[in-house]
Subunit: 267 residues, 2 copies
DNA sequence: GCTTGACCCTCACGCCGCGTGAGGCTGGAG
DNA sequence: CTCCAGCCTCACGCGGCGTGAGGGTCAAGC
């Protein structure tokens, strides 16, 4: 007789191989009294009888159904236990977890999209929100340029939880600011004036819906508006010379907050 | 100024209320260095600045996506981190977990069905497997009678993982045994003979596919075959008097194994 | 100035189901 | 007699905090 079938007990290793559970699990179930071997050899080896194997098998079955060890113990030991009830409760828990995971997966999809495309709107929605002069390639271009900055990450994180209405609000705020800038320039607002500083603050707040903008970063942004052809075209399109004028507003405001605009850096 | 907005920091309680995380979580994140407050009061109170809040907010966002704290740390701290890659990996993990949970749910359904109906086959399958004299109400009746016994539980557990083919095998074994019993009775096999004991053992083995049957239980079963009208009808339908003859076979075999059939109990 | 009650602090254990060693016997084969 | 696989018993670790214990702090009301 090589090892097993008609012996009066199987060792942990043999049971492990038969039932596909680890030896450690058998030790554990023995330790907590869930399924203990009826016998031990003189040397202390655990010996599982046929009856023990029955019980172990049942443990394995219910464990595969995701029941906790206490639940399994109840099912096996308490003859008054409502087994179908316990199973249904377990099924409800599982359904709940599936639901949560699905929502989670959807959230991940949104976030991945936001990271990769910058916007989660269809082309139609983009045009509807941002107006006809909107170029759908801009988010992709922005990602090209800024995709490896912390600010892009924050932008993407916020984009992921922004629907069309919220984007509309952002777009409205930007448009309102553009208009206000144009009118202020018409009205001859000069850098450093209270009116000018209010506009600079308003710009910072509007921008904060993309990512938090420090005053130093705002200085750099002002210079970019002036230097970058695309930005300059936009602002000079509102009023000729507006980009430069706005940069001077930002510089003045920064100086008023103790920042030297000529040495300010993005970080 | 009541509490917060322009103070130079928020306490744990305030942050907790704003971000919807527990105070303990803030402590934990501080403890592991994931998100620590920049300031402390003289008394040691944590004070979270606006910048700290930014970071906390990002932690919350990624935590809601199911990232582990180490993953979040990587995303927040390592500017070279592949954020979309991490998110995609997380999505894959989530999909995997959903899959497992779905299988688990299906298993639970099967088990619940098995517990409630006793069989997981359609009526057509039942008739195909068990023959035209099969009554589809039998499993429900069996549940009525035995639904609160350990053996019913084990029967249900095994049924849950048995398909039509396996049921066919069981049905074939049962039919084969019935035939063999009839032929043995014709041949004048007497209780206690080796031939008779072989048949009794074969009955025990066939029955073991439903649930483990001890010799004592088999004795009780033999008596039930004789006493219960439905069982008696079945066995006496094979050969007149077969139920009683078989009961005597079982009794004799039990005696040969040191069991007194007149005092044997199910348990 | 003293009390009260809401907040805050720092340990430190608990959870769930084992995985993973460490350190040391046992048992059958060569 | 030696080897090596297999067994034993501790005991820590994991993930992300929950939940006290035991004790300071702060603003308000008396």
């Amino acid at each position: 007789m090589p090892d097993a079938t008609d012996a009066d007990g199987l060792t942990v290793g043999q049971v492990s191989a038969r039932l596909g559970v680890t030896v450690r699990a058998l030790h554990h179930w023995d330790g907590i009294g869930l399924a203990r071997p009826s016998l031990r050899t003189a040397a202390g080896y655990r010996l599982y009888t046929a009856g023990d194997l029955e019980r172990l098998h049942r443990v394995v079955v219910y464990r595969e159904l995701g029941l906790g060890l206490d639940g399994i113990r109840a099912v096996l030991d308490d003859s008054t236990a409502d087994v179908p009830g316990a199973l249904r409760a377990q099924r409800a828990r599982v359904a709940e977890r599936i639901d949560r995971l699905r929502q989670l997966s959807a959230g991940l999809d949104r976030m991945i999209d936001a990271h990769e495309h910058g916007l989660l709107l269809t082309i139609e929605q983009q045009v509807a929100v941002f107006g006809p002069q909107w170029n759908p390639d801009w988010p992709a271009q922005a990602r090209q340029r800024y995709g490896d900055t912390t600010q892009w990450l924050q932008y993407a994180e916020r984009s992921a939880s922004r629907g069309p209405e919220e984007w509309q609000a952002v777009a409205d705020a930007v448009a309102g600011l553009d208009r206000a800038l144009g009118e202020a320039m018409d009205a001859g607002v000069t850098p450093g004036s209270p009116e000018a500083n209010r506009l600079v603050e308003r710009h910072r707040e509007v921008f904060a819906s993309y990512f938090p903008l420090t005053r130093r970063m705002q200085v750099c942004l002002g210079r970019m508006y002036e230097a970058d052809p695309a930005f300059a075209a936009h602002y000079d399109g509102i009023r000729s010379g507006l980009a430069t004028w706005f940069r001077r507003l930002v510089d003045a405001s920064a100086r008023a907050h103790g920042i030297d605009p000529d040495t300010a850096t993005w970080r």
